[in-house]
């Protein structure tokens, strides 16, 4: 499946982009996590959450067509 993936803050630095079109090799958020951590090993060094369609989601979530994913490093608002 082809996914739109957004990167923010520190993660955008690691990836060198703020948004990518990613061909997902698996079906779940967990699969994508592994896929991206293989491609960008620095992701393994930090804590981050994944949002699907602007909601924090669990690793068990299975993608649907048109989902917008985002990799979110720790928040720093305020």
């Amino acid at each position: 499946m082809k996914l739109k993936v957004k990167y923010f803050g520190l993660i955008a630095e690691f990836v060198g982009a703020s948004e990518q079109s990613v061909i997902a090799k698996g079906l779940s958020v967990q699969d994508l996590r592994h896929q991206l951590e293989t491609e960008y090993p620095k992701l393994k060094t930090i804590t981050y959450q994944i949002a699907v369609n602007q909601k924090i989601t669990s690793d068990q979530y299975l993608f649907n067509d048109g989902d917008e994913l985002a990799l979110l490093p720790p928040f720093a608002g305020g």
């Binding site: 928040f75 720093a76 305020g78």
Partner: protein, 147 residues
Amino acid sequence: MSEKKMKNVFVQGAISPEKIANSISHHQVKTNIGGHDIFLGQVRADEIDGKIVKAIEYTAYEEMANQTIHEIREAAFEKFDLTCMHIYHSLGSVNVGEICLFVFTSSAHRKDCFDATRFIVEEIKTKAPMFGKEVFEDETHVWKENK
């Protein structure tokens, strides 16, 4: 009172004291208000590994942050008896000493606005996807992380 329309909390750059004063002024026609509580987040010149922060550059997952803060706003109106609520956060560069967060609630009695402002600030800090790059004098940086 509840406000259904989603608002944009983001402003470019620092929040000025004049903006805060204007916001206070606008409430003087609301004569059912007895108390206001205002929280202001200000950028600190923290020392990190011997270097001093000179500014924070804020970015956000804007759509999600606005949606999250919309839900925080609705929850606050539900939990507390409030007359008004205003929330603004900076995007882009905010120098040390400048204001990056402005949370303003008003109520007939002080307890509600005290509780509400604190609730909103804590919720924003933990739930809203905003990111802060702490920039040092030598232009190197680290990424801020809320506790």
